[in-house]
Symmetry: C2
Subunit: 171 residues, 2 copies
Amino acid sequence: MPTRSTDLGLALSEVEVPRGFGRGPRWWCANFQDAGFRITLPRQAILEALTNNSTKHLSAEEIYFEVHKRYPGVGLTTVYRTLEILVNMGLVFRFDFGDGKSRYELLQGPNAVTHHHHLVCTNCGRVIDYTEFIEQEKGLLDKIEKVLSEKYKFNIKSHQIQFSGLCEKCK
Amino acid sequence: MPTRSTDLGLALSEVEVPRGFGRGPRWWCANFQDAGFRITLPRQAILEALTNNSTKHLSAEEIYFEVHKRYPGVGLTTVYRTLEILVNMGLVFRFDFGDGKSRYELLQGPNAVTHHHHLVCTNCGRVIDYTEFIEQEKGLLDKIEKVLSEKYKFNIKSHQIQFSGLCEKCK
DNA sequence: TCAGTAATTGAAAATGATTTCCATTATCAA
DNA sequence: TTGATAATGGAAATCATTTTCAATTACTGA
Ligand SMILES: [Mn+2]
Ligand SMILES: [Mn+2]
Ligand SMILES: [Zn+2]
Ligand SMILES: [Zn+2]
C-alpha cells in the first residue's frame, strides 16, 4: 500500500509534502494539524476560494457564495468559523473598510498577494492595493514596532496602514 | 437688547465668536452652520461628551450614556446621526478596533488629542495611543499621499496606522 | 482495518449594532 | 412672531455575526 488515505480522499503524502497549488496539494494542512485542527472538506473549500481570489477583498458571505458554486453543502456558519481560525493562525488578515462587513485577505501560500497597504474610497467602497514606498514603510514600521513592543510590553503581530478619501469617480 | 438669543438659550455672540472651551462657548458651531446644519441641544450635548472624553475611544452607545447623564431626553438614534455628520465634516474620526462597534475620536477643537496612531490588543481590546516617531510617520505618509493621490486620482482625506497584537496582560 | 470519541458541521434561532420610519417638535430666516 | 422644513426620539426593521444543538465526520489507537 503506497499511501494511506483519509475519508476525505486526500492522499496523506500530499498533506505531508505539499508541492504545487491551485487544484493540487494543500500547503496549509500542516498549519491546521499543528494547531490541532482537522482537515475537512469545508475548510479545503474555503481555502480554495481564498486562494482563487487572493487579489480581491472578499466578505464572509462572498466567500460563502464562492464556495457554494462547487460545494453547495457548506454553510455560512462554517465559513465564519473557519475564517476566525485562519485569522488567529495568521494565514488570513481581517480588514474593516467601513462598509459594515469584515473583509478577508490571504497572507500565506504560493498564491498570496505581496505585502501591501490600502487606499479606500469612503463613498463607493473601492479599495486599491498599493505597494509604492512599501520598503520604506516596512523599514519605519519595523523600527517603531521594536520600540513600542518594548515600551508598552506588547507582542505585536501585525500592522496596517490605510488611506481614506474619494476615488476618481466619487470626488 | 445687547445680544439676541436662540430658543436654545445660547447667546448668539458666543456662537459667532467662540473664545474658550469646556462648559463655555462653542467652537464647532461655525462648522455646522457653514454646512447648513442647525445648532441643536442634542448636538451640543454630543460634542460636549466627545470633548470631555477626548482621550478615550467611545462607542456610540457610550457617548449616548455620557450624554444621558446630563440630557436624558437625547436619543441613541440622534447620537448615531450626529456622529455621521461629524465624521463627514472631519471633526471626528471613526475607528474599528475589531470589537464589533465603531469608536470615535475628536479631531478638532481646543480639547482634541494631538495627532497619534494606535496599538490594539486583539484579545482584551485595550487601545494605546502612541506618538513615538509620529513626525517620521507623518513625513513619510505625506510623501506617499502625494504620490498616491496623483497616481490613483484619489482625493485623500485621512490616514490610519494601527499595530495589533497582545498586551502585557494578555500575552 | 475499524470502531470509539471528540471535533466539526449546517440549519435555525438569537444577538446586537446600526438604520429606517414616521409622527411630533424645534430651529432659524424672513 | 411665524412658517417652512430640518431634526428628533421611540419603535420597528435590517443585517452581519454568533450561538445552540442534534447529526455527521475526521482521526486515534487497537
Ligand atoms: Mn489588499
Ligand atoms: Mn486614539
Ligand atoms: Zn469611490
Ligand atoms: Zn489585552
